[in-house]
Amino acid sequence: MDFLLNLLPHLYNGISLGLLFALIALGFMLIVGVMEVINLAHGSLFALGAYFAIALIGFKVNYYIAFLLAPLLVAAVGMLLELCMRRTYGKDSLYGLLLTFGAALVIEEVIRLAWGSGEKQLVVPPELSGAMLVGGLIYAKYRLYASLAALGFIFLLYVFLEKTPYGAMIKAGAHDSEMVRALGINLTRLRLFVFALGTALAAVAGIVLAPIWGVRPHMGVDAVIPAFLIIVLGGVGSFWGAVLAGIMVGIVVGITGAYASEWSLLSMYLLLIALVTFRARGLLGKKTALEA
């Protein structure tokens, strides 16, 4: 009984961490799903979101307004990146990988040039900071708000994808882009929009996680690897797969962090290996033609 009681806060922590992981992965998933491009610059755009927010707050912009504006700025950068990517469409996927890898390096160096290589702080408003008691244990308030924000963005994205015509177009684009084009939908514009949305989500994740992980030019590396792992685990292109996988990864990392801490980072990779061994398409991935 004591063990279970002790386990509870770690479960709660795992779920909240999982929601944050899911938030990081969603933008990544969107771009992979629709454009079949593994955007290796996702981590750098995640970092850029945090830096833009810091810069805006530095210009005396309110935190909440900065929270809304910074992803829009990153979305503009994402759109530029998408324009550069157009020449790679229809070619070997390696071209897209190389281009986004190059973009990741460029963005990271631009961050170093603009903001320096030292640590920065994204200061959150007083109402979001402080501590609270969860089951007799002290827990950072911001962590709770960050998880709630992640939950909110997951819900909003779900509503957007499921309940709006734009969401339907994106899903159709992910399923069969040629058919979408045949139906008269401007696929070029759709891709541009998806890329902007995906990168804006990366920026949102960066802003949410910045006060927890800290802000430094290479912080994106800490995000892109779990994001990649989560979309593979959840099934490439699956919205709920990514959310479920994010929460699973969070729980596994949170619990191993408490009970076998040296395994905490490794545990997510072990989870991936275990799952992919028995279910190669991930949790909610679609069957391939060969499997059907």
């Binding site: 770690h10 922590n13 702080q121 501590a131 244990l137 006060p211 430094r216 962090g257 801490s261 905490s264």
Partner: protein
């Protein structure tokens, strides 16, 4: 005739433009004629210790600049060659190999991560190239992983544990938890802390391993609250300690236990804000030590690097500077770059407190090749004289009091005969 005179004038002008500077500065002209002395800076620019690696590079560069301003060393201009070791041991090996075999580096300087330092030193020993471990602090570096060509300049985990453990048990209590970065420095530092805690009547109730690049410490913080120790002794470094400090402050757990951080590197705490500087920690230098030469050194740093984010030098920069300066002095004294001659100058070398801007005289233990020096204990300064004045120095321990005695038994230096002669 007119054309010839014009040609002559043009030749004179070109000649004076080319030779002019050399005749004005004869020292430079002499140095330029000889092959430059290449010093390989094996320092991280990315990964867990990227920020500290950049800082120690500036320190080494300042020492090199000072010597070049005097005409170089042995009449040779010094060239610094930097390659990013990426906080990765395999990269460290590759960089060391390349610097020695392709770039003809005479000496290698730099390390933050003990795994990287160990990897570099193995390559350096194979060729006989003298290597300075500037800032990595695993006790094994001057213990079982020591080498004839390697010299360790920072205080190590055992030095800092000696300086702090006994008093911390008395003041804070007997039940300790170790928070250990899961690599060689963390392991060895926690091992030394454990031994001292147990020898002084304390008890290690739990050791929590922190994998490198951990960004979320919440599960650790929850676990600590469930354990309820008196003291949390952290051997966590680089970006990991930055994240840990921020999350401890967010959770308001900075006062829930007594926090001890074995060694607190300046770049890992600079810019985090005053709240994040909690607990007691060790360092081997601070920019506001009331000692001769410190103010001038700080002024020199600020004049040389006006645009850097870290506005005042810290321990990592200091180690990069003093070690490189000492290397070049030894080369000058030896009158050669031959490795064995330089090693002999370094072994047992004594360095005055004034020269090193520390409280006590320092020396290089000939049996371990570690620089034994003053170790300071510090905490947050609640009465800062200026915004960067965030440390309050609590005490200073002379090197003899904190020396790592186990290292002497563990270190088996290769003989001179087994060390290849190396000269560039």
């Amino acid at each position: 005739m007119k054309r010839n005179r014009r040609k002559l004038l043009q030749m004179l002008a070109a000649g004076s433009a080319f030779y002019g500077p050399w005749t004005v500065n004869r020292v430079w002209s002499q140095a330029a004629q000889k092959k430059p002395l290449v010093i390989g800076l094996t320092m991280d620019a990315s990964g867990q210790y990227g920020a500290s690696g950049t800082d120690e590079r500036l320190g080494a560069m300042l020492a090199i600049r000072e010597f070049n301003d005097k005409g170089g060393v042995l009449g040779r201009r010094i060239e610094a060659l930097h390659m990013d070791t990426e906080t990765t041991p395999a990269t460290g090996s590759r960089v060391a190999e390349r610097m020695i075999t392709r770039n003809e580096a005479a000496f290698l300087v730099g390390a933050l991560h003990s795994g990287v330092a160990n990897a570099i030193s193995q390559v350096a020993q194979r060729y006989g190239c003298v290597y300075f471990n500037t800032n990595s602090s695993s006790p094994t570096e001057a213990g079982k992983d020591c080498h004839r060509v390697k010299f360790v300049w920072d205080g190590n985990g055992t030095n800092f544990a000696h300086a702090i453990v006994k008093n911390a048990i008395r003041v804070n209590g007997r039940n300790w938890v170790l928070l250990t970065n899961d690599y060689v420095w963390g392991h060895q530092t926690s091992k030394a802390t454990r031994a001292l805690v147990e020898a002084n009547g304390g008890k290690i109730v739990e050791e929590l391993m922190v994998p490198q690049n951990t960004r979320d410490f919440t599960s650790y913080l929850l676990k600590l609250q469930q354990i309820k120790p008196n003291v949390v002794a952290a051997a966590v470094g680089g970006d990991d300690i930055k994240a840990l400090r921020q999350q401890v402050v967010q959770s308001k757990l900075d006062k829930a236990f007594a926090w001890i951080n074995n060694q607190q590197d300046w770049p890992d705490v600079y810019g985090l804000g005053p709240d994040a500087v909690f607990g007691v920690f060790g360092t081997n230098w601070y920019y506001r030590l009331d000692l001769p030469g410190v103010k001038e050194f700080v002024a020199k740093y600020q004049k040389t690097y006006p645009g850097v984010q870290i506005k005042v030098p810290g321990n990592v920069f200091y180690n990069g500077y003093v070690s490189t300066r000492e290397l070049l002095r030894c080369v000058e004294e030896a009158g050669t770059t031959n490795n064995l001659a330089v090693i002999k100058k370094l072994e047992g070398r004594k360095m005055s407190a004034v020269d090193r801007m520390q409280t006590h005289e320092a020396y290089i233990n000939a049996a371990t090749h570690q620089c034994q020096q003053t170790i300071y204990m510090a905490s947050y300064n609640d009465k800062p004289a200026e915004p960067d004045d965030i440390f309050r120095i609590l005490s200073s321990a002379p090197p003899q009091e904190v020396e790592d005695k186990d290292a002497i038994g563990a270190c088996k230096l290769e003989s001179y005969e087994a060390t290849p002669s190396y000269e560039q």
